[in-house]
């Protein structure tokens, strides 16, 4: 068992597709919340396999894309701190703030380093005790426990120069917020690796209170297709519950050790999402005990963020209300080489996925996107 190749089998995928076709009578919209799912859907051409009654909508599940420009500007301002080193994941460096991005700051002489793990940022701080190291922590619940572990490590090492700009976000509150805005979809393909940490329970209110089936899915083609099948079956039968397709990756109660680490270091906070505004309880902030690690006090207090560039529809795309190809800038003024909005910058952004895969063999399938 290699835990991946087995779930990429063509015959298996064909069998699941034929099951979806047999089960689907109505017309259903399903939202794949997670950017990693969006990429899987496009890379494997899954949309083209689905019957007409199943429409996939991409949701706000790319942490880079949903980080508002004002937060990117805060990260950029840390580049100007005397002697400072900004460390972050590669996903963030090209995302534009008001006028520049971290890569641009680096080109102008700032010390910006891409790290693979939060521990790499702690290690940088250990090696250069005289310089402040700012770890710009971005990501959902999958990534936040690693930040918590890094802060606890820095604490136990007694590091005085390690700081975290916490941009982490929680996923279930934003699904709820989407529904409250009248958006979302009839069923949700829920993020498998977020749920490896938080388990299935946080999605129960979406099924129970909103009547929207939720299936927690893995990321191989057979996983995503099977999740679609389970959702279609629930919808056809008028049921709404939380099911786990990705049982090899997700225990119902999640990962207690990672949850404990996250809970020890972070408390719940409100957080702003690009395209969605402020979402209650969807953020994380450092608890009082770890407040000395908060990089927020180094951020330039006089920051003023510019509005989004004219024409950019990333907000509509993130709410699942607009297919990327229908944005007037898509593919013309906004391309991966010259992106205008974050959904085109991030490799897991909906626009980048549509651009890279959706155009293969011709124009994007506009009718089906509508």
């Amino acid at each position: 068992m290699k835990f991946a190749a087995e779930f990429r089998d063509r015959a298996l995928a064909d069998a699941i597709v034929s099951n979806i076709r047999k089960s689907c009578r109505g017309k259903w919209s399903l939202m794949e919340f997670c950017g990693t799912h969006t990429v899987a859907v496009f890379r494997h051409g899954l949309r083209s396999l689905l019957p007409e009654g199943v429409r996939l909508v991409s949701g706000p599940g790319c942490p880079v894309c949903v980080t508002p420009k004002s937060e990117v500007d805060r990260a950029l301002s840390l580049c100007d701190v005397e002697g400072g080193i900004v460390a972050t994941y590669g996903d963030l460096v090209k995302v534009p703030g008001s006028g520049n991005n971290l890569a641009g700051k680096r080109a102008l002489g700032a010390d910006v380093r891409v790290v693979y793990s939060s521990y790499d940022a702690v290690e940088i701080a250990r090696r250069v005790p005289g310089r402040p190291v700012f770890f710009v922590a971005i990501g959902f619940e999958t990534t936040a426990p690693g930040t918590a572990a890094a802060i606890m490590r820095a604490d136990s090492m007694g590091l005085q120069n390690f700081f975290v700009l916490c941009l982490h976000k929680r996923t279930p509150p934003v699904v709820q917020a989407l529904l409250e805005m009248g958006g979302g979809a009839q069923g949700f393909i829920c993020p498998g690796h977020v749920c490896a940490i938080i388990g299935a329970r946080p999605f129960e209110p979406i099924a129970r209170d909103w009547g929207r089936p939720c299936v927690i899915s893995g990321f191989e083609p057979a996983d995503v297709l099977q999740a679609i099948l389970l959702l279609v079956r629930q919808l056809e039968e008028g049921r709404a519950s939380v099911e786990i397709e990705y049982s090899r990756g997700v225990p119902y109660e999640g990962n207690s050790r990672a949850l404990d680490a996250m809970d020890e270091v972070f408390s719940r906070a409100d957080s702003e999402w690009r395209g969605l505004g402020m979402v209650v309880g969807s953020g994380m902030k450092l608890r009082e005990r770890f407040a000395r690690f908060d990089a927020a006090r180094f951020v330039d207090p006089g920051l003023e963020s510019l509005p989004d560039p004219p024409g950019c529809k990333c907000g509509d795309v993130l709410r699942g209300e607009l297919a990327p190809a229908l944005c007037p800038l898509f593919g013309r003024l906004c391309t991966p080489e010259n992106p205008v909005g974050p959904c085109m910058v991030s490799s897991e952004g909906s626009c980048a996925a549509y651009y890279a895969y959706g155009r293969e063999g011709g124009a994007p399938d506009l009718e089906r996107l509508e």
């Binding site: 068992m1 290699k2 835990f3 991946a4 087995e6 779930f7 298996l12 069998a15 699941i16 034929s18 099951n19 997670c34 950017g35 990693t36 599940g61 790319c62 942490p63 880079v64 994941y89 996903d91 693979y116 793990s117 939060s118 521990y119 790499d120 971005i138 990501g139 959902f140 999958t142 990534t143 426990p145 690693g146 572990a149 993020p191 498998g192 690796h193 977020v194 490896a196 940490i197 990321f219 057979a222 996983d223 099977q226 099948l229 397709e245 990705y246 049982s247 090899r248 990756g249 997700v250 225990p251 990962n255 207690s256 050790r257 990672a258 680490a261 991030s346 897991e348």
Partner: protein, 71 residues
């Protein structure tokens, strides 16, 4: 960004493990995993941390359900 990939543990010292990802060896942390994982086990690896130990029985069961439904 929530990509996590199966990685095979090839060496282990306390909470630090060496894993093989398609033949590439990486050092990772086991501090956030809540089931014991040992050499020969696969874990889900995300940004330097193992976040879950994968069990062959769970994976086989999913494959069985997928195939059975296809009947």
């Amino acid at each position: 960004m929530c990509l996590a990939i199966p990685a095979l543990i090839v060496e282990k010292r306390g909470d630090v493990a060496k894993v093989s990802v398609g033949g590439v060896i990486k050092e990772i942390s086991l501090e956030l995993i809540d089931r014991p994982a040992d050499v020969g086990d696969y874990v889900l690896l995300h940004a330097g941390f193992a976040i879950h130990r994968l069990d062959a029985a769970d994976a086989e069961e999913t494959l069985r359900i997928m195939r059975e439904a296809a009947g």
